[in-house]
């Protein structure tokens, strides 16, 4: 290894990432349970924001209701904790009023895909510039473990005590079909990949959706016979997913029951605020 490369590596290791720059430390400790994946996602998100070098004053983080939706309280941005399911609408209001804002919406599978499903579809359809992180742990954690639109068939929850009979919503397929111009799936297990994916989502112009598989060991894991948080991460996030780049090379039986991860869809499309600016020009020219 050349000497310069070794030196660079050493420097990187000796300067750990300064999370304090972005955290409201006096609002910690957070409410998340031991083993929860949300803290891992938060750290990846902060590193991605830092890499994208966005001024903190220009970042607006919006959330709905649920465990993941408590994230904005802990970070030093313009932060808005709203109503269950409505984060995307509030975020649309902020962004449309002030297009310079860099919008990051933190939401859960229940918040985004059940009670907020309509807003999710139409936000994607408008392709308004914002990054939507769907923390998908297949359960309503804050209310104590009820099944959600991403709870697997047969799974136990406090409202599916005989096994869940509802089919699963594929968040990424939904986002793509609805018109989002960037769609990706990541996990809290593949941490570096998660950071890179969030970074790409933030840099993308238009609606970018990242479904993040993360674990709720307390309310999903315990009801479904997972031994620990790490057991869940290995079973669901590591063994349950395949990188999209490898998927084409694998035989169908190897893909059976697996979710693809990585950037699944990325296209350039007209962005809502920019289209509106053109409309204003047209109206004013008349």
């Amino acid at each position: 290894m050349p000497e310069s490369a070794t030196a660079e590596k050493k420097t990187k290791l000796s300067v750990p990432f300064d999370y304090d720059k972005y955290l409201r430390k006096n609002k910690l400790p957070h409410i998340w349970c031991p083993g929860c994946g949300h803290g891992i996602v938060l750290k990846a998100l902060l590193r991605a924001i830092d890499k994208a070098a966005i001024d903190k004053n220009d970042v607006c983080m919006v959330s709905g209701i649920g465990c993941s939706s408590r994230t904005p309280g802990y970070v030093d941005f313009n932060t808005l904790h709203t109503l269950h399911g409505r984060a995307l609408s509030y975020a649309t209001g902020v962004k449309f009023a002030k297009p310079k804002m860099k919008m990051i919406v933190v939401t859960g599978d229940g918040d985004a895909l059940a009670i907020g499903g309509n807003h999710f579809i139409h936000t994607c359809r408008r392709n308004i510039d914002m990054t939507i992180l769907v923390y998908s742990n297949a359960i309503y954690g804050m209310t104590g473990g009820q099944f959600s639109p991403t709870t697997p068939g047969g799974a136990m929850s406090t409202t599916s005590r005989y096994g869940n009979i509802e089919p699963v919503f594929d968040c990424c397929e939904l986002a793509k079909s609805a018109g989002a111009s960037f769609v990706a799936r990541a996990t809290s297990y593949h941490v570096q990949e998660l950071e890179r994916t969030i970074y790409e989502a933030i840099k993308h112009k238009g609606t970018s959706v990242v479904e993040i598989l993360d674990q709720c060991p307390i309310y999903f894991g315990r009801q479904n016979k997972y031994k620990s948080a790490s057991h869940m991460m290995e079973m669901i996030e590591k063994d349950g997913t395949v990188p999209v780049a490898q998927a084409g090379k694998l035989p169908p039986e190897k893909l059976q029951g697996k979710l693809l991860r990585g950037i699944l869809h990325r296209v350039e499309k007209p962005e809502y605020c920019e289209e509106y600016a053109k409309l204003v020009e047209k109206a004013q020219a008349k």
């Binding site: 313009n78 709203t82 209001g93 449309f96 002030k98 139409h122 109206a283």
Partner: protein, 377 residues
């Protein structure tokens, strides 16, 4: 030479748009619903020309949500709806009360319950305006009755929203919303326009819910004040709390903002009230019939008068009490089976109150009110 003021023949819903634009509203979010849709239609034409923002949302809930978000980004914002849409917006109205976000909600009242009578008038949302969202919260609701008045009252709604950092509702029935009358567009400066107070302190000292103020200054997102907003009970810094004292004091301050400023918020139109023995208490199209009836009765020598609130919430308790001292009876015509009458009775104990009620989609006619007044001559 002074510029000539424009005079136009326009619909109530269009006058609402003129009022909103006059007040500095540059953001509209809404969903089509009869009989308020013309507000959205006119806004979609006018706002882009002014560089303002118009968005047709996917539903009523998104509409109230985008206007709260946009208000936090510093804009004056409006939505308009009716009956079922007003029901859907209630959770969002509660959020705006709790988070103290100024915005204006127009409710062009139609017949209910449920989908009811979309093209017919109603006045059965007055209690929903007061109590529709859960929890204790302040409510300001204005009730114009004439097309030019819709313009002026929409301006006042924005002023009150900005001044008291709270959502303000404007309630008018379908008849007034769709009626056309001559409206003189006021010149700039002719009507007072109030903007919210913004903080001047350094960002690190800013407390968005500072209890030392009755109405704390409100920063806009993206201007260096990185503050937190939540619908949870919160402390002065905006972050959630479970402290019982802080929770109670926070809710009480919300109510105090309106309670302590009633003299500024209340507004009544009093017609022939001085020596009135029979008083009619009415809003909107019903008040127009009532005015006609009072005039007709006076011509016949009956001492009738009209008390017409332009601010229905907070309720004009003092005005009703004062009127009740001299009155033999108070007649309350309403396009509902009786809602405001309970408030009138509360403020006028011992005075005979008579309701005139219609829910058949037809207006209350002057003759019905005259007949009721004549029973007390």
């Amino acid at each position: 030479m002074a510029e000539k003021r424009a005079k136009k023949f326009m619909q109530g819903n269009e006058a609402c748009v003129e009022g909103a634009l006059y007040a500095g509203c540059r953001f509209y979010g809404g969903y089509p619903i009869t009989p308020s849709t013309e507000v959205a239609e006119h806004m979609s034409v006018r706002l882009p020309k002014l560089g303002g923002k118009f968005i047709q949302t996917e539903d009523e809930i998104a509409a109230i949500s985008v206007i709260v978000g946009a208000s936090l980004a510093g804009m004056k914002t409006l939505t308009a709806t009716s009956g079922p849409g007003f029901s859907l917006k209630q959770e969002g109205i509660g959020y705006a009360c709790m988070a103290e976000v100024p915005c204006v909600i127009i409710n062009v009242m139609r017949g209910g319950p449920s989908t009811g009578y979309p093209t017919g008038p109603g006045q059965s949302d007055v209690m929903q305006a007061k109590w529709g969202t859960h929890g204790d919260h302040p409510v300001i609701a204005l009730t114009p009755a004439y097309v030019p008045e819709i313009l002026a009252e929409t301006v006042r709604a924005f002023n009150l929203a900005e001044k008291y950092r709270t959502p303000v509702m404007v309630l008018y029935d379908e008849i007034v919303g769709h009626m056309r009358e001559a409206v003189t567009i006021p010149m700039p400066g002719e009507l007072e326009v109030i903007d919210r107070v913004k903080p001047t302190c350094p960002p690190e000292e800013y407390l968005p819910y500072d209890e030392k103020y009755e109405v704390p200054p409100l920063a806009a997102f993206g201007e260096g004040y990185r503050f937190h907003v939540t619908g949870l009970n919160h402390k002065a810094d905006g972050f959630p709390t479970n402290d019982p004292c802080v929770i109670e004091e926070g809710i009480k301050r919300l109510l105090r903002k309106v309670e302590n400023n009633k003299s500024d918020i209340l507004k009544n139109d009093e017609f022939e009230l001085d020596n009135a023995e029979v008083v009619v208490f009415a809003i909107g199209s019903t008040a127009r019939s009532a005015r006609f009836a009072v005039r007709a009765c006076r011509e016949r020598g009956i001492k009738a008068g009209l008390l017409r609130p332009l601010t229905l919430w907070p309720f004009p308790e003092e005005a009703v009490r004062k009127t009740a001292k001299k009155a033999k009876a108070i007649i309350v015509p309403e396009l509902s089976l009786g809602q405001m009458i309970y408030e009138v009775e509360r403020c006028a104990p011992g005075v005979k109150t008579v309701g005139i009620n219609r829910v058949d989609g037809e207006p209350i006619k002057p003759a019905q009110i005259i007949e009721a007044i004549e029973k007390f001559k």
